[in-house]
Amino acid sequence: MIARAFEPDRSETVAGDSGGAGQGGLRRDGGGPKLLSRRVRGVVSVLLVLHLGAIASAPLAMEPASLPAQKAFGFFRPYLDAAFLNHGYHFFAPEPGPSHLIRYELTFSGGRVEGGVFPDPTAQQPRLNYHRHFMLSEFANRLAVDDSQQLALHELSQSFAQHLMSERDAESATLFLRRHYIPAPQQVRDGMTLDSEELYAERLLGTFWSESGLSTEDAAAWNRTADAVGSPGMNHTADAVGSLDPGRVPDPMEPTAVRLTGRLLLPGDLQAGEVIR
């Protein structure tokens, strides 16, 4: 009975043999609606194959990706980008990881300093608005852990800073990427709360001024790197955002919770207690 409600009998539907979806093609008895001509079917079929190939290539091209997947994605990318179909659909994959927030310190003309964090569920209402702000800080982390995206991270951080300064009429903004680790079950059993200070780690994104949008230190570092490598360097930006020295010994403050995600091995990963003030 229940199954029948979701699917017509095979004998009742032309489409049933091909994994009928409850739609069921109708027969043409009685001079009903006409089906498409062979030529139109051929054209539509080609378009369908191309579209399906395109939307499948986007998740297949996510790292680690095979060469054919990369080539296919490259071929379809104009269509995927323009039509906003370029998604990997890796929800909560490979594992639910820590959250990321942006902590900021705004300095005003009189030397007054104000701090804040976004996203903030109390400030950003309704929930959809909060999630859009949440995705901003999560996106910053996606760039932060990818060495090839440090220039984009710098632009993103600068844009965040300019928005905050414009909104509050501040003179400068210092931004930190704050990682909020998930406690291990045993830690919660032992009394740790989800907002325990031990679960937070930060890294500096940079200090930005309202006039130029680039801190003095950033500008100097940019020039040094440009001189060293002969071109505007990605390396500089990595330095400016405080990427980790790969050879550094892990901080003893590292919470055991991070072992849940195993993300300490990722490039640019954070250590708990690193820059917390």
Binding site: A93, H131, S159
Partner: protein, 364 residues
């Protein structure tokens, strides 16, 4: 022998392909999807508009330089860049988007409203590429497929207007048989529904397979990783920490469902179970993790797998006017052993006769 096999294989593939894509389908599921997605679009655009200063203009969270850096090497385009310098023009775009979403919801000028809704959705997304999540992705692909057929043949002002027009044209002759065109099953409805179905299968399959790379999914603690995340939490489920077996079972069940969805949803016996579990998963995400809009959007997309008969029965419980009764009968005929289209015509002839009586002064 091999040649015969290959010919048979080719014939079977072509035949199956044609039946899968080019059969006729009732637009009822698409109509419900159109209405629900239309309402979600209204909400989405209202929220964009609520924080217009934050997401549009030179001083927005994402200015043009940052978006250019993020989209470097890509081909993303957004019509919103043409108006981004003026918050007044942006406000007008918000207004247009809201009105268009309402038009889509009510099914007025749906054939235009659907592509406009898709273009606006893509434009808003490509303007703010770092402020998006699954909800926006679902809105994007569903509105794209509603361009193929927006389900305007049912529960829409378009259908009502078409009916009124045909009734007027028919005059004293009653409603003509040609009015079947208003809501008859169509190939485009089938293609649109199939595309939503396949896209859902792709999403779940990819999401499930990607999870297999994570140790937490294998060890059964991944679900804890979701409920222990304070930024997502809207309902405190951390009491499950004392129920590790439950956490493990929920982890494995969610993973198994996600991976098997693309296979089991096509079979008539497993489909109700797969869809019911999906509703629970998405409702759980909506309630516990604060992603109400994403959960709703995914549930709405899954309506593409629900039988038109079930959908029509939900909306047609009361005593029906002859026209709607004919539509209901046409839907029910799809599940009978009789040819499906011919009875629709018979039913509509009856409606026509009824209309004739009406035009002659008899009540119905």
């Amino acid at each position: 022998m091999i040649g015969r096999y290959l010919r048979g294989l080719t014939h079977a593939l072509v035949d199956g392909w044609n039946r899968f894509w080019f059969s006729l389908a009732d637009p009822a599921p698409l109509a419900v999807i159109r209405i629900a997605i239309g309402l979600l679009l209204v909400y989405s655009h209202a929220v964009w508009a609520l924080n217009s200063d934050g997401f549009f203009g030179a001083a927005s969270w994402l200015n043009s330089e940052s978006v250019s850096a993020i989209q470097a090497g890509g081909y993303s385009v957004s019509a919103l860049w043409w108006v981004d310098d003026s918050l007044t023009l942006v406000a007008i775009v918000h207004g247009v988007a809201l009105v268009n979403a309402l038009l889509l919801t009510f099914g007025l000028w749906s054939r235009v409203a659907a592509p406009v809704a898709f273009l606006l959705t893509a434009s808003f997304a490509n303007r703010n590429p770092a402020a998006l999540y699954g909800f926006d992705q679902v809105l994007g692909f569903v509105t794209l497929y509603l361009c193929v057929n927006p389900g305007h043949g049912w529960l829409s002002v378009d259908r009502w207007r078409e009916f009124r027009r045909r009734e007027k044209d028919a005059g004293s002759h009653g409603v003509r048989d040609s009015e079947i065109v208003v809501s008859r099953p169509s190939v485009s409805a089938n293609i649109a529904t199939r595309l939503i179905q396949l896209h859902l299968c792709l999403i779940y399959l990819v999401a499930g397979l990607a999870k297999l790379k994570g140790a937490a999914w294998w060890s059964g603690v991944a679900f804890w990783g979701a409920i222990g995340n304070l930024e997502y939490q809207t309902l405190d489920m951390t009491w499950l920490v004392d129920w590790p077996m439950v956490v493990s079972l929920l982890t494995v069940a969610a993973l198994a469902w996600e991976i098997s969805y693309a296979a089991l949803v096509w079979h008539r016996w497993t489909r109700p179970l797969v869809l019911a579990f999906g509703v629970m998963v998405h409702a759980g995400i909506a309630v516990c993790f604060g992603m109400m809009t994403f959960g709703l959007a995914m549930i709405v997309a899954n309506i593409a797998f629900v039988s038109p008969r079930v959908i029509r029965s939900l909306f047609e419980q009361r005593e029906l006017d002859p026209w709607t009764a004919a539509l209901k009968q046409s839907a029910e005929r799809q599940f009978s052993d009789e040819p499906a289209v011919a009875p629709v015509r018979v039913a509509l002839h009856r409606v026509g006769e009824s209309r004739k009586r009406d035009s002659a002064g008899h009540a119905y």
